[in-house]
């Protein structure tokens, strides 16, 4: 993004926030319909410590699930590429699991793993795992037949082909999957928390709805959104640092 675009983006954001503030204040909307931006910011400041603690819980769930999911996704994709017979059996099963929208698993995962952090980590790992797995597999499959045949004719083994040909070809796609998965990991953690949890931003949202504190709901949403952006930015920055393949 160049400087002009950044300035324009800032202007756009400010305009929309100003419109929101004017609407909420001008129409005197009650907090349960739409609170003003300034009210939300005040609530974030006021409940700083509570929100911070909740963000830590959600962040921990998302990050742990993310790491597990990412490793599992890449690992399973690698395994299926190296062991062809396994692929024929396991891929349909994995695709079947993936055909269920990820949120539909959350009630079951909550019953299995309880209301604590474990169920959230499992859900995040599931969502991240499949995102990364599918992009890694697509990446590994991207090399064309002729290059594989060529390398084979030079006597390269399965591992050699994987290491020198498939992995480099797949890296951009894997990186894209990892980036998309950041935002998804936090959203899935929060969605699962809202169905049942002992803590976290989703739990704050749930509790605030029951306690009729809608400014607090928005404050938690704001913190969640910031957390997502930070995570996305972090992974993006790491990717640019390690961009040795381009």
């Amino acid at each position: 993004m160049n400087a002009t675009a950044a300035v324009r983006g800032a202007v756009g954001a400010v305009l929309i926030l100003a419109l929101w503030e004017t609407l909420a204040r001008g129409l005197a909307l009650p907090a349960y319909t739409l609170p003003a931006v300034s009210q939300i910011l005040a609530a974030v400041a006021e409940h700083r410590s509570v929100l911070q603690a909740a963000a830590l819980v959600t962040g921990f769930e998302a990050l742990t699930g993310y790491v597990i999911g990412a490793l599992a996704g890449i690992g399973v994709a690698t395994l299926l590429i190296l062991a062809r017979p396994l692929r024929a059996g396991a891929l349909p099963l994995l695709l079947a699991i993936n055909s269920v929208p990820v949120v539909a698993w959350s009630p079951l995962v909550l019953l299995w793993f309880g209301m604590g952090v474990a169920s959230k980590i499992v859900m995040v790992a599931l969502a991240v795992g499949f995102t990364v797995f599918l992009s890694a597999l697509a990446g590994f499959d991207r090399v064309d037949r002729r290059s594989v045949d060529l390398m084979r004719s030079f006597g390269a083994g399965r591992f050699g082909i994987f290491w020198r040909l498939r992995l480099p070809a797949a890296l951009p796609l894997i990186a894209a999957g990892l980036r998309v998965a950041t935002v998804r990991s936090l959203i899935v953690a929060i969605v699962t928390e809202m169905l049942g949890a002992y803590g976290g931003l989703g739990w704050i949202i749930y509790q605030s709805v029951t306690l009729i504190d809608f400014v607090q709901v928005w404050a938690a949403i704001l913190v969640a959104s910031m957390l997502s952006l930070a995570f996305f930015g972090l992974v993006g920055a790491l990717e640019r640092r390690l961009i040795f393949w381009r």
């Binding site: 349909p92 019953l111 697509a138 935002v183 929060i190 959104s225």
Partner: protein, 251 residues
Amino acid sequence: MNAAAIAALRLLGGVILAGLVWEAAVVGFGIRPHLLPRLSEILAAFAVTPGAYWAGLQRTAAETLIGFAAGTAVGIMNGVIFFRAPLLRDMLLPVFIVSQTIPVIAFGALVVMWFGNTLFAKAVIAFYLTFFPVTVNTLLGLNSVDPRQVALLRSFGASPRQILFRLQLPMALPQIFVALRLGASLSLVGAIVGEWFGDNTGIGVLLLQAMYNESVVALWAAILCAALLGTGFYALVAWAERRIVFWGAEQ
């Protein structure tokens, strides 16, 4: 026999085989029904109240389709507008990106308040999840069109409108379809989550009822419905892609 029939038969065979493996695994390994009930038990649950599952399937499918269609239309429109007006793109795209970091479930209560308990309210959530990837990919696709081809058409006297519909949008279609395949699953997620906010019918409703009654069989029945819908819708989009982008989609 033609190729399509053979493919259908193979699919059917695969599904039956998977079902048998499931049943045998649960019985053979003695898996606790609390974790995974036998497939036959789940099918029996369908047989007891087929109407409820069928109604839920239809309702969720309708919400998904409407949200998906609206998300596609708005997404493509946004993409074209952003492509034509870089000022708007720079101002609004960051806001759109931020909007996508908000867990939509947090909005559920608001959407119910604004739109009531209608099918429309769920479609709005499905729309919210769909329009963004379509916007981004439309923009990407339009940007990737070779400027020399545009210049060529222009030299033949083509209007910007003609260039858009004859060259740029068709060239962007493969990219757009990548987003549509993603949107197919996202819109279903939106519809299901939307149904968690007080409704009578839908797969999301069945999921919640089963969860709060701690009925694992009913839960799996709802999950199978969701899988069926997810697969069917994805296949539909993939089929449309093969027909429309016949000159070569990614994948």
